[in-house]
Amino acid sequence: MFLINCPFCGEREQSEFKAGGEAHIERPKQPTELSDDEWAEFLFMRKNIKGVQFERWNHAHGCRKWFNIARDTSNDQIKAVYKMGEKPTVK
């Protein structure tokens, strides 16, 4: 069970949070302009990597805010926590 440092509340147990999949996938501004393939890329394609992965998390049983984390999937180390709209501080 991770300890996650919510950018709004501080360090809390993982059980207070909900994972929300890969981060930095922006909803296209003009979906109607997209081909089926382009739309499918946004809709379905997600990375599943061994190493540092950028993820969305929600402090569901806390402040209810969404934010991003950078987590190394090989050892669950959280390398960075940052607010929505911000750039990750690690690569």
């Binding site: 069970m1 991770f2 300890l3 147990e13 909900k18 929300g20 922006e26 909803r27 296209p28 003009q30 979906p31 109607t32 997209l34 089926d36 739309w39 499918a40 809709l43 969305r56 929600n58 569901a60 209810r64 805010k65 969404w66 050892n75 669950d76 929505m84 709209g85």
Partner: protein, 1003 residues
């Protein structure tokens, strides 16, 4: 059997406190402090069980949690009886009742023992290979396999004991109170760190606490005395909490650990009343120090599993700690110096040591010379090749090892014994370390895996870190703990260690025999009956990875997770495959370290506390009025209200008819309600619903459909515009939390520029829906000040009003197709307003109806229920709800997906109505729908999603999803059932009042 192998004055046993207990229906006596194992051994009972596959007689092998054989059934009463309890861990109490498991009819005469004779035809993978063919026979085999296997019996009644969970936060958690754990605890607590020290045993000190010979000294004091003083000192430290009988079950990431504190299992039954039995500790530690010790290895030779064969360290422990000899004529068999400590304990107590068999050709330790002085014969460079005796070892034969250790040479010598202590060296207990994600490295010198890389802020000290000598333990513990805890000062200065043993060892994973391997039974995993032969067979059959060999041979898959034999399995694999140790990986030790009871895992979350129950403010009224309830998520919803002698169907038919003929009343409080405010609220709704919202006038209501981004229907409900920038959205009962979360997600991450605020108000309002041709008269009586005329208060509009002094909102919306009013009032007034409605409706046959009738009424109208008529594969187009999808809006959630190549296909499953040929026949929900019954295989076109007998139409009606169903209107289809085929016709899903005239019906 009446031998007494107990002698006086041992460390742990209170000889003034005698305890009687029953094992396999026979009464025995022991003393306070005994484990079941030590008490049985004192009574000369070794045979305690039968092995899993071959049903071989098995005896107590160890003195700790690593025990593979002596697992017993505790308690004979059905509510408390517990399987797989280790006799080596359970402390006896007055009245204890235990029995052997995995044997029938008794441990002395076991029918399954025939498997032992049949064993040449029961190799590894036998079950997989034999019983999988022919497939249809599996059912027959299964019965016998399960009957002859089986590890104990589970209780059949509810557990009467109390369990609980507790969170603990500490600076330093120390696991294991052996010598290194004690030292670490003292250093940590004395430096102001909040420290928790846990140990699975009932006493502190680990194995050094019974190191009481002249050959083991610390600073000129006998080790056990030195340690006792240390324990005495730390028990007074303020920052230190000590928990015994507390076993760490799991070590998760981020230093989160689960431990089981055993509070009452050692007490007599009459002292357990109203006490908590086990406590599951959820520990979050800033730093963790593992001092979990090491487990002695057995040796792998033919017939190494007979009752009377024990680990040599266990024998020593039974002698020094419990005052119990394991036999009267003992032999020790070793490849290292450990067994000489056991021999010394025996010599000191006058217990006969017949001989010591040592794999090593040269032995050079003070203890070994002392042993030889006592005229005990040491066979150097010898190995045991066989043992004798069936239910108890009676002797063994030995032969000389060749120089390379691969063969035996010379003449066979037979020796007699009634107990054999074996020592194959030590395996650091790295289980918890690997659970936490730690990586091991292999140390060639003494063939052990030791911690290499820590995944969190943790440290391993003492023998679990590979420091196996007293000198290494003391010196390294101080150095590493100081560094780890960042402390400069400790009470410990220099240590002067005296020890009688050295580190030399001759490691041979599988000892050679004069027989060919196929003729031997050299057990590697005692509990699962996996032999060296099985492991070699697995390799021959192409298995390489230890994880595969493990599953094929079941090595390490018992309740003990192979704590004794896993290293040998690895060793034999690498020897046979000619690879280096560690190359095949190590098996993964998974939590729990030792089995946990379900009670411990569940804690207080049983009965009423198993799950949260949500009740509406009107719940009590429903109960009083004989409602049957249905679970909808966590909600209890009134399902139907049977009158005397009514069954469910009769009640629903009556309720449904009343709702259309006169008036019905429904508690709709469970519907999700989300308050939406902000200057961009209209724009927000435009984006989340499929239809347009900007032009909805204040005071009006609109039905909305919400999609996922993939175009599939997600939720639906009516949203009302309360004010310019204020809406209230309703969601389905089950979808409320998810909808709120989804909307929050979009607001926070995709559209942060929108000025919108969401708030869940589901529990704030009671919602009472009154419907039917008399509904207007009824609500007019309840709220006389409000103008309910169709002109002033038309369908799909809302009014702010008051009932007495209490503000409320009334929406004129309908899920039944009848004229219908929904009163929303502050929750705590819900019940009284409901009663007011009932009173006002008395003259109009107002009839409370439940969810079942609600479902029937909406089905007559062809209204969908999200989650029942839809799954996550239905678009609004599939549901024939094209009318609600705006063509004009540039974008909304899911819009682009509605014309993906897949979603525009003609042959998608589409919602249709279904009418049975026989109007009395009601379809089963979930039944398959087909067109051609003769085709093989039959093509499934879809399934029935909703089905009822409609009392208002006097016929059976159903909704279903059918491939290409939209174009099938009037077409005949078939519902194949077990005993018959039902003919149906595809129909319009709206069965009743297609024009919607009933919404304004007047009586």
């Amino acid at each position: 059997m009446s031998k007494n192998l107990r002698f006086k004055s041992s460390k742990l046993v209170d000889e003034t406190y005698r305890i009687s207990f029953k094992f396999n229906n026979k009464t025995y006596f022991g003393y306070k402090g005994d484990t079941l194992a030590s008490a049985l051994l004192a009574n000369d009972v070794h045979l305690v069980g039968r092995s899993f596959k071959y049903h071989r007689p098995r005896g107590i092998m160890t003195a700790g949690s690593e025990e593979p054989n002596a697992i017993i059934q505790l308690h004979d009463n059905t509510s408390r009886t517990e399987p797989n309890v280790r006799a080596t861990e359970i402390e006896i109490y007055e009245g204890l009742v235990a029995s052997s498991q995995n044997c029938w009819p008794s441990v002395n005469f076991d029918i399954g023992g025939i498997n032992n004779i049949l064993s040449p035809i029961l190799p590894a993978g036998f079950y997989y290979k034999t019983f999988m063919w022919p497939k249809s026979f599996w059912e027959k085999y299964e019965y016998f396999i399960r009957k002859s296997a089986g590890l104990g019996k589970s209780p059949k009644e509810a557990d009467p004991d109390i369990y609980e969970h507790k969170y603990i936060h500490c600076d330093v958690l120390i696991i294991g109170a052996g010598i290194s754990g004690i030292m670490a605890a003292k250093m940590s607590a004395k430096n102001g760190l909040k420290t928790l020290l846990v140990d699975e045993k009932s006493f502190l000190g680990g194995s050094s606490i019974y190191d009481n010979s002249e050959f083991s000294k610390i600073n000129n004091q006998i080790t056990s005395s030195w340690l006792e003083k240390e324990i005495n000192e730390i028990s007074k430290l303020e920052n230190l909490e000590i928990k015994t009988r507390t076993s760490v079950a799991a070590f998760h990431g981020y230093n989160f650990l689960l431990a089981r504190e055993n509070l009452t299992d050692h007490l007599p039954m009459n002292q357990r009343e109203n006490k908590i039995r086990h406590r599951l500790l959820k520990i979050r530690a800033k730093k963790v120090i593992s001092a979990t010790g090491a487990i002695e290895r057995p040796l792998i030779f033919d017939n190494n599993d007979r009752p009377g064969v024990l680990l040599s360290s266990a024998m020593k422990k039974y002698i020094d700690l419990y005052g119990v000899a394991c036999g009267e004529n003992n032999i020790l068999f070793t490849n290292n110096d450990t067994a000489y400590e056991t021999a010394m304990s025996m010599v000191q107590r006058g217990i006969k040591v017949n001989a010591i068999i040592d794999n090593r050709e040269e032995i050079d330790s003070k203890l070994s010379y002392e042993i030889e002085k006592n005229n005990i014969r040491i066979f150097k460079g010898y190995t045991v090749v066989d043992t004798y005796g069936y239910k108890r070892i009676s002797g063994l034969s030995i032969m000389e090892l060749s120089k390379d250790g691969q063969k035996v040479i010379g003449k066979k010598i037979k020796l007699s014994c009634d107990s054999l202590g074996v020592s194959g060296g030590w395996t650091p207990a790295v289980h918890l370390f690997t659970q936490s994600g730690g990586k091991l490295k292999f140390r060639d010198d003494d063939q052990v895996f030791i911690p290499n890389k820590y995944p969190s802020d943790q440290l391993s000290i003492g023998s679990c870190n590979g420091d196996l000598s007293l000198e290494e333990i003391t010196t390294n513990t101080i150095l590493s703990v100081k560094k780890f805890l960042n402390i400069n000062n400790t009470d410990y200065k220099t240590f002067e260690i005296i020890t009688g043993i050295n580190k030399s060892k001759r490691n041979i994973w599988l000892l050679p025999s004069d027989k060919i391997l196929g003729k031997t039974k050299s057990f590697v995993d005692y509990q699962n009956d996996a032999t060296a032969k099985d492991i070699k067979l697995a390799l021959r059959e192409g298995f390489r990875s230890i994880e595969h060999v493990k599953r094929y041979t079941t090595t390490g898959m018992g309740t003990d997770q192979g704590k004794l034999g896993n290293m040998h399995a690895l060793g034999i694999i690498s020897e046979t495959a000619g690879t280096k140790m560690g190359e095949h990986g190590t098996t993964t030790f998974r939590p729990p370290y030792t089995p946990l009871t379900f009670g411990t895992i569940v804690g207080r979350n049983v009965g009423k506390f198993f799950d949260i129950v949500r009740r509406t403010p009107i719940h009590d009224w429903h109960v009083t009025n004989n409602a049957k309830f249905e679970n909808v998520g966590q909600w209890k919803r009134a399902w139907y209200y049977p009158k005397v002698n009514e069954n469910m169907n009769q009640a629903v038919q009556r309720e449904s008819k009343a709702a259309r003929d006169s008036a019905g009343i429904l508690d709709a409080s469970t519907l999700g309600k989300i308050d939406i405010q902000g200057t961009d609220a209209s724009e927000f709704l435009n984006r989340v619903y499929t239809n347009a919202w900007s032009k909805l006038a204040i005071g009006k209501c609109r039905y909305g459909l919400m999609l996922n981004e993939d175009g599939m229907v997600y939720d639906d409900g009516v949203t009302t515009r309360l004010d310019e920038n204020h809406y209230i959205m309703t969601t389905t009962t089950g979808g409320a939390a998810n909808v709120l979360e989804k909307l929050e997600d979009y607001l926070q991450t995709e559209w942060p520029e929108l000025d919108v605020y969401l708030s869940s108000v589901t529990d704030h309002y009671a919602t009472i829906s009154v419907c039917g041709p008399h509904s207007k008269k009824i609500v007019s009586k309840v709220i006389p000040d409000l103008d309910f005329s169709d002109e002033k208060f038309p369908h799909m509009s809302f009014k702010n009003t008051k009932i007495g002094q209490i503000k409320c909102r009334v929406m004129r919306i309908s899920f039944t197709g009848e004229q219908s009013y929904e009163i929303n009032i502050q929750s705590n007034y819900g019940k009284s307003v409901w009663k007011k409605c009932m009173e006002a409706g008395k003259d109009f046959n107002i009839t409370p109806y439940g969810t079942e009738t609600m479902h029937l009424l909406r089905a007559e109208k062809g209204f969908i229920i999200v989650g029942q008529d839809t799954d996550a594969t239905m678009t609004p187009i599939d549901l024939q709800m094209d009318w609600i999808v705006s063509k004009k809006k540039y974008d909304f959630i899911g819009k682009r997906s509605l014309y993906r190549s897949d979603t525009i296909k003609d042959d998608r499953k589409q919602l249709v109505g279904l009418l049975t040929e026989n109007p009395e026949e009601v379809l089963e929900e979930g039944a398959q729908i087909v067109a051609d019954i003769k085709k093989s295989p039959i093509e499934m076109l879809g399934h029935v999603t909703s089905s009822y007998y409609s009392p208002n139409l006097n016929k059976s009606i159903a909704l279903g999803v059918v491939k290409g169903g939209k174009k099938m209107l009037g077409q005949k289809l078939i519902i194949p059932m077990e005993n018959k085929n039902i003919n149906v016709t595809v129909a319009d899903p709206v069965f009743l009042d297609k024009k919607g005239e009933r919404l304004n019906a007047k009586l």
